[in-house]
Symmetry: D2
């Protein structure tokens, strides 16, 4: 695919994800971490407009000056913005307005991409592609949150399953020898700045599971009183369980004695063989403690991932999200992309069924606060 | 008009108020006191369905069992409900779903109203009419809030003005003699339970203004440092001013040195001659103190209102919202209508440009917490 | 008693109230409404120093310039101050320092009071006396809160009972005829500005109980599910019950199936015959609703109080705390005494066992927010 | 020193630290992270009573059953406890009561320690010693907070300086070669479980400063607008700066244009040559970014610390507080000591002038949330 085709294909996929929605579904923001779908559609467009068209396409006419205020996410460099908690209070621009904005920018981008671009600009374009793919992941999980917290439990799509394989493989533990390993990206294509630089890490002997924890495994934890036993939890996790009255993964409801969970196909009985999802790091840690095991570090994961299949669930690791040796931020607004979040978050590795194809890789580092659950998070045990 | 005509006319007016909206405008709830327009449309429908059709129309089929949970406002008697702060998180039922719900209930109601009804049922029907009219008032002020807090300041309707008369009459002070006066409803038609019973009140001599405070008057207060002078405020009002950073009425913005205000016709320069609106009780009190005057009590207002014109602005009074002598709640859910709010609120008298025709009267008592400003509130001075 | 004797007698009583305390008891502030005893001792001293010695005693040397910041309560006119929630964070000035401060100011006051004073100054002196007496009431209830919320339940004083009479009189209902009555102070001695002006009020026929509600009465309310029945409560009261997990009056603990309450004599079994105390207005209202009665208004209370005994419990009324006709604030800091609290509070009438002798009177108006319970509040029913 | 002498010497030092206090200073808790000095004195005593005397000294009579509730800090295993935020609300047990409690337990401990003890018990005793030493550090920093946030700025002790050396050495950068290094405790004496196990870590080439950042260096950062430049901060740090209105290190006040800081010797002009202290991790990170450098990791620090002098300031590292490979919690309450805090905290290395002699070592790991500043924290730069 050339750049124009690639651009159009990525842009189209965002809109396809929204295709099952009604206009009202694009608007709401039930919690601060979830953004309205129309905001995602506008923000990814604003990214191309601001960092490419305004910056490098001479004569480009900004679509609407007010949109910078509405669709800036967190770039302090780019000026004031609607604060994150207020995104769900905005009925305008309407969904139609935003689709018009997308068309306008797409047209300009297609023209822009048809010409030769320099290396710097090329890197920004590819960043824009990856940026929109990251938002596609959020788009799907945010849509799930919006529908799954509605008392009517509307179906997103009858055919959209949340698993890749019908059931989990049998669990085996792979053993890795201690020694010095190389960590970090060193391929040819795109990577984020937080995957650089490639560097050496010393690992001790460890074993890691070939498969993810299943719903069945987790139900055993619940039934054994896992949520009632402070000894399994971090102090902050225990606080969170009690303050937020947590008794099960997100989207789980006990109806007439049976666990159900909301899925993109609607409310269903929990399938015991499917991989567990929608648990926080705190729960992942408590479950591993209960098993007498632990979560892998992100380095253990990266070294062993070629030996098992991954990509259905984002996997919590024990690692805190920190810069690699020699990490440095890009200058300007693009430098705000990753580095400024490197405190108080945990690394997730892998990918999930919400991740667009070819977006992840073995060195990819995702990160969230330890209490968050609305991504397709899962658990892989180590010891 | 017979009951069916009256019913249809009131129902139609709610929908007319929403006619200028886009689907997205029906959904959002920027602050807890404002409800999404689609919620108002559903809730008023639910009121007729619950208290009339389900209760008195044999064989009526409930439209959707889940709607009771979604559209119950505060009736503890009627079961669980979506908590008020979460109304803006619900994308479903969609706007179309709600219009279908309205049609379904309207059809059943027309049939129901075509038959003879008993006196008790008649009273409930009229309560349902007045209930929907109250929500029409909120519908307009909630719409104004949703649009007026959007950074794009969308116009609601080019022709919808917020004043009845082009400018305020000259101010005169009417003097009322001290003595015993009768207060409370004693007419023939409908009134709310909080207007009963008619009873005697002793009033001292007082004077009351024939006109409302104008924008010009209030700008003088601002320019004289009214918002900076603690001496003019209640302790709680002063706290509110400082904590909420209040410097002007709601919807006012100082742009290039000139006061503008958002109106249903969009953002406009403040007209100095129009009656002031969108101020809290705290501000009304502080303004009156600055003038060396005070607000009237609700009894003073009721006794003198026949001598001046009113109906453009809800007028803050000095009176707390309390039961009249002999007040008693109706049994059941209807008894939750008014009585349970009779603490920590202030009485407003009159009506506003958002009030449907023939909905208010001289004995009508509205009430809000002293910090609220999104209604068309105003000030009439007394001394 | 001459002025000097009166001054010394009032000042001494504050210190007597603190005599049973240990130094640590003077320091803490478990909730915002409760002030540390040492703060009361300092603040009442600061009042005399600021409004009399600094203002009218030429050559008076201020004891410590920093104390104005520490001991100012809410007088905006007098400059910045420690915010109320922070009073319990101050270990200095120490208790000894404050007793030295009291001695220093007392000496200067005795000298000052020995000379002739003008009428204005005389009124301020008497206000200072009444001000210190108001704080004596708070001193005792704040001490009770500090000790009664300590898990060791320390005894304040073995001999300090909380009742005046061994048990309640039999309940009778007094009937008062409808008509115009005079309300407000018109005696010779001191009164607060909020008791003025004397004015006419029209009252309907009503009956009022000769006695207070007893603990036994209230236990019946609890056992009948009073705290579980939303129908008895204001909406805000119901919220408060649920958010604060209220199930009994303040200081009540159910131990082995029996109600105990913390008293100044320590933790005791609840005496069924004693008058109920430590309930909020919300609870008073709910109890009255449960009885099918109501609370009296402050005017009903004032008109009928000569016919029953009062003074053991502050009695909640249905009246909101509002200005009397013609009320005006004094100029300057003294004007901040009462007027600025006239919103969102309820009037209490009578006095309690914490009230110093001769401090209350039939026209005295106390006021608190409707959720507060740490005063010796009680209930008298009306109908 | 034998065990009894060691015990008595440690216990005495806690009381010496409190010797300059007045009774009131023992009681208050201005913020949740600071505990009242009397609580520290009681809690360390409770630790010996609970984990040694009650567990291993047959016939020991518990001093007061209620003290378990009052002095348990966070051990869920040991039962309910006063929640941390409420510690400052307790006037009882009084300071005298707690000194009596200390004497009682000391007497029993001396007797207990005079006999032979098994290895397990010996380890618990040494843990008790180290536990009390940790609280000595907090005792001093908590006392500083209590006095330093009092508007009277009382002096703790005229002779207690906060620096070990009169001024900082000249700054040099030490360079360490890349390679595999051993990390973690492997000596003979006591260490905490979080320092185990000794394991290999791969380090890249790095340079680390021989000296700490001075006040002068930091004033340059302030004057260059460091607190106004979002680019230097983590997103959460920037939030913290703005929400908490941070403009300088804790205890710094600009008076007449000059920076002053509260010290144990009272309010003083900031000495430009002394090592900076009382800054959060967020500030440490922002300062390092401004310098174009970074903070060392805890491994870099441990490998290089033998080459520079340390011990005046706790030094923030870039490392998150995480378990070492093979870390496992001890069974029972002692297992709650460290492991359950291993999320969302940053590691500090070294020691400070508040650290008791011989309490720290090169492998010692301290940890705090990134916003906290009341310890004697400092900055050592790396690159």
């Amino acid at each position: 695919m050339n750049l124009v085709e690639k651009y159009l294909s990525i842009r189209k996929y965002s809109e396809e994800l929204c295709q099952p929605l009604q206009a009202e579904d694009y608007v709401v923001q039930p919690v601060v971490d979830v953004s309205p779908p129309k905001w995602h559609l506008g923000h990814t467009t604003w990214f191309f407009e601001t960092f490419l068209l305004k910056a490098f396409s001479p004569g480009y006419q900004v679509y609407d000056d007010n949109y910078n205020f509405v669709f800036n996410s967190y770039y302090e460099t780019i000026g004031n913005r609607v604060i994150r908690t207020d995104r769900g209070n905005l009925s305008r621009p309407s969904v139609n307005d935003i689709y018009k904005y997308r068309s306008y920018v797409d047209e300009a981008m297609v023209k822009f991409l048809s010409d030769e671009v320099g290396n710097d600009v090329y890197e920004l374009i590819v960043l824009g592609f990856n940026h929109e793919q990251q938002h596609q992941e959020l788009l799907l999980t945010d849509i799930k949150f919006i529908l799954g917290n509605n008392p009517l439990f509307p179906v997103y799509h009858e055919q959209k399953t949340e698993v890749l394989s019908p059931s989990q493989n049998e669990q085996r533990f792979l053993t890795i020898e201690e020694g010095v390993y190389d960590i970090g990206f060193n391929g040819e294509g795109f990577c984020f700045d937080n995957e650089l630089n490639r560097h050496k890490v010393y690992l001790n002997n460890f074993s890691i599971s070939s498969s993810l924890v299943s719903n069945e495994d987790y139900i055993a934890f619940i039934e054994d009183g896992g949520y009632k036993n402070f000894n399994l939890w971090h102090a902050e996790g225990w606080d969170w369980v009690n303050t937020s009255h947590i008794e099960a993964p997100m989207y789980w409801h006990k109806i007439n004695g049976n666990w159900h969970n909301y899925t993109l196909q609607g409310l269903k009985v929990v399938d015991p063989n499917q991989p567990l999802t929608h648990i926080s790091y705190y729960e992942a840690y408590a479950f591993a403690s209960w098993k007498g095991m632990r979560l892998p570090t992100e380095f253990e994961w990266e070294v062993s991932a070629k030996h098992f299949s991954w990509g259905e669930r984002w996997e919590w690791t024990e690692s805190a999200y920190l810069p690699y040796p020699g990490f440095s931020k890009a200058p300007g607004a693009i430098g705000e992309y990753n580095g400024k979040f490197m405190v108080n978050q945990k690394v997730l590795r892998g990918a999930s069924i919400a991740t667009p194809e070819q977006h992840s890789r073995i060195t990819y580092r995702n990160f969230f606060h330890p209490n968050l659950r609305w991504q397709y998070t899962g658990i892989r045990l180590a010891k």
